[in-house]
Symmetry: C2
Subunit: 150 residues, 2 copies
DNA sequence: ATTCCGATTGCGACCAGTTGCGACTACCGC
DNA sequence: GCGGTAGTCGCAACTGGTCGCAATCGGAAT
């Protein structure tokens, strides 16, 4: 179920300004790719799209900017259970955390928002005396339509 | 074929035999490293230890064997929130799934077994009509001792 | 508009993990 | 034990991601 969201799109650049992070041509290109992306992108897709806006963007700048966004909690990084090789996927962080479910047969990715997940995180905070900042729950298995055919 | 486990340690090799998976010198070395490991190892540590038992073991054989173990549900693969670079860590799968908590300050890894986690997976099975085979929940934040110093 | 300094960039070299391929070997049936 | 074959291995080449460094740029102060 593609996702319930609360918050206007397209404000990544504003976040940068508010936090006094320097804005460059290259970052502008990358942010605008992330802002307008409709689905999970991997690093090489982000690079290609960003280079269409600013041809000078380098691979390593993409990775550095992604890391920056990650550190500021503005995007989430996903493995999607390494369905296709080693790569990672990135998505804008909007609204509440959600679980990612990857179908091992058809490769489809579904998302799921659950109160149980929030409760579980609260339990960890309490029982383990651990301050939760980032969390990632990924599940691999078979989706409803693939489940029929063993 | 995914499998629940409650089980004595050190029987990785037996599992291979039972499932008719071919046993080789190299695999024996790698399995024995995994069986005797006391904590999360990364691929290069596994390689080094395995080479002490059989000098011919190659990097790619380690990765291939790890993937094999993963597919058979005998080990878990962790990112530990990419605390140190990109690498992955591997651990023998024993008993119930557990949550990994990585402290972003001191790097310590804690584990936590929770009924809430099991319930959450059941909820996904039911609400999303999704067959759960593998699951991984990783949390990044501050552990009890690092929490004091902001 | 000009200066200036730290932050950022591109580049090339590197580490982590995967793949294709020819050579090798475990193990089944004889 | 012996041979044949599918499964596995080591190697070398590749993709994904990181790092160190010199050159460059953003933007605050002037």
């Amino acid at each position: 179920m593609p996702l319930p969201q609360t918050e206007a799109p397209g404000r990544l650049q504003a976040h940068f300004a508010e936090r006094g992070i320097r804005m460059t041509q290259q970052r502008r290109a990358i942010l605008s790719v992330m802002e307008t992306a409709s689905k999970h992108l991997d690093a090489s897709q982000i690079l290609r799209k960003a280079q269409r806006l600013d041809a000078s963007v380098d691979r390593s700048t993409v990775y550095r900017t992604l890391r920056l966004l990650k550190r500021h909690g503005l995007i989430d990084e996903l493995d999607l259970m390494h369905i296709n090789g080693e790569g990672h996927y990135y998505e804008r962080k909007l609204g509440r955390d959600h679980i990612h479910m990857a179908c091992l047969r058809c490769g489809k990715i579904a998302e799921f928002v659950s109160d149980g997940f929030e409760k579980l995180k609260q339990q960890v905070e309490k029982d383990c005396r651990f301050r939760v900042l980032i969390s990632r729950l990924e599940i691999g298995g078979y989706c409803a339509s693939c489940r029929g055919s063993q």
